[in-house]
Amino acid sequence: MTDEQPESARPEQGAHPAEDAGTATGADTGTATGADTGADTGTATETDAAAEQSAADAPLLRLEQVTKSYGNVAALSEVSLDVHAGSVSCVLGDNGAGKSTLIKIIAGLHPHDSGTYTIDGEPARLGSPREALDRGIATVYQDLAVVPLMPVWRNFFLGSEPRVGRGPLRRLDVAEMRRTTRRALLRMGIDLRDVDQPIGTLSGGERQCVAIARAVHFGARVLVLDEPTAALGVKQSGVVLKYVAAARDEGIGVVLITHNPHHAYLVGDRFVLLKRGEMAGSHAKESITLDRLTREMAGGSELDELSHELERSPAPPPPGSAA
């Protein structure tokens, strides 16, 4: 994740160069994800590419014509999305477009009203976040990712705590939890001074990174991130996007929700645009430029109008000059 620019032109999804060994994730990643996509990408031949193509055709997750309303509010209507192993699917849209609703359906927090949601080709109807987790779908929420007053290590293992001993002496494996937390964070390149500090004392970017490291550690196959860069500065956003790329390179299918087309374009393999709950477009990276993506997201003609308005408005007088 350090020697590879996220935006560097990568082949199709599923291609994990063996040079990845230079990164902290190590050589095991190459073999694991190689098995995952059903092709040894290091020696891609015609047939391998075909096999890879077919593997890529069978998504981990598929949403088709999914609709969801909250009472009278139609939050989503007929939205479709595919998530493939080792690739990043971005969902773009303005505030209120239905992005969070979409991922809450994926994560099992809300059931959808109509349409189909298939996991590994089987239709699914998730009753709780636990069911989604058990099927390898981990979600990092925009607003409810962590319990701020709890130490980092307790947050890291929350809901999946390892235990030792038996009977009434069955207890948390505290030493192992602390050690593993440190190690899993180091592996994602996060060096925390003290895993005992309340996670609320970390910066927003660090918190997102811990949540991502957590999902990767627990063997997520699909990682859903709701606006991980929304509240972050430029530098922290870059760090988070690097971890997104690292997760992708471990063979995880990533769903990245954002309203920032620049961030999406850096790591995304395909882009789904939402507008007031409806799909306004779906593009593979090859078939769209950053400029067009930005324009589409801002809503072509609306952006033109805006730029006209901004041009016409007179420059405000510098403060204090009137006196």
Binding site: A32, A35, G136, L144, V147, M150, R183, P198
Partner: protein, 364 residues
Amino acid sequence: MSHSPAAPESSAATGSAATAEEDPAAGAEPPHVRSLPRRLLSRPELGSLVGAVAVFVFFAVAADTFLKASSLSTVLYASSTIGIVAVAVALLMIGGEFDLSAGVLVTTSALVSSMFSYQMTANVWVGIGMSLLVTLAVGVFNGWMLTRTGLPSFIITLGTFLMLTGLNLGLTKLISGTVSTKSIGDMEGFPEAEKVFASSFQIGGFNLRVTVLWWLGLVAVATWVLLRTRAGNWIFAAGGNSEAARAVGVPVRATKIGLYAGVAFCAWVLGQHLLFSYDVVQSGEGVGNELIYIAAAVIGGCLLTGGYGSAAGAAIGALIFGIASKGIVYAQWDPDWFKFFLGAMLLLAALLNAWIRKRAEATR
């Protein structure tokens, strides 16, 4: 399709390989040890400990008889009767909820035990068992209503509080004709039950009541659960951010129902103590004690908003109440000042705890 079979393998592979590869690095790294003052400062019960020492010294100076063994054992006994329930209330508050019914539930528990034994002319242990069932049922009802309706626990338990207050008086009058129960002192099993719930031991000049043992035992169990079990992690998470907890698979509803059952269990212990030490139960008792339990938990460092606190803190909070309530008697002051004193204590403790927490987080 190749994804699903390969996936678990892939996560296992990455996990173990990372272990092998990172272990030396982790070993070479000096383990991070937090300085002692900082660790102390980050303990929720620090403020209450300072307060307890201050109150103790104050009454040791103000009342000549305060330091006598008999006085100290009385103080400890008073503390234990508050502390037994306060510990469970503290856990509940860490889990983000209130229980206004805990005070009258103690009386309910004693009434059920006494009246069931008397009316069924059975062994007192049958009444004790029946009382446990009824009391736990009330606790589970509180938790179940809360998690079903999503209403604030303040409202739900205010409802149970009022209903129980009425039921206690109404049913007792209906069954025994007066506001108190009949004596069950001559019934089968009474001496044994008295040993379990209301006995005392003489150690030198010190009279150790069995409730003190119950209290310490419950504090130890609560501390263990809170800090060293999965349930404890869930309690902190349910109170600290219940949505986040649910999202990562914590059974938040079950956790909260369990916490209410815990309060009910402790109310049952205290109820049986009152029954077997006084033999009869006044049906109007217990009103107001729920606030004392909550105050003890808050003095002990529990956050009203949940997610923070400790069982030991609540025990120290109860100790402060015990010292103050008896200390005022030994200093031969008007006991009317007790409530004023407690109110002032509560405000001071809340301010001190807020200040300590701010500092602890700032010095990181």
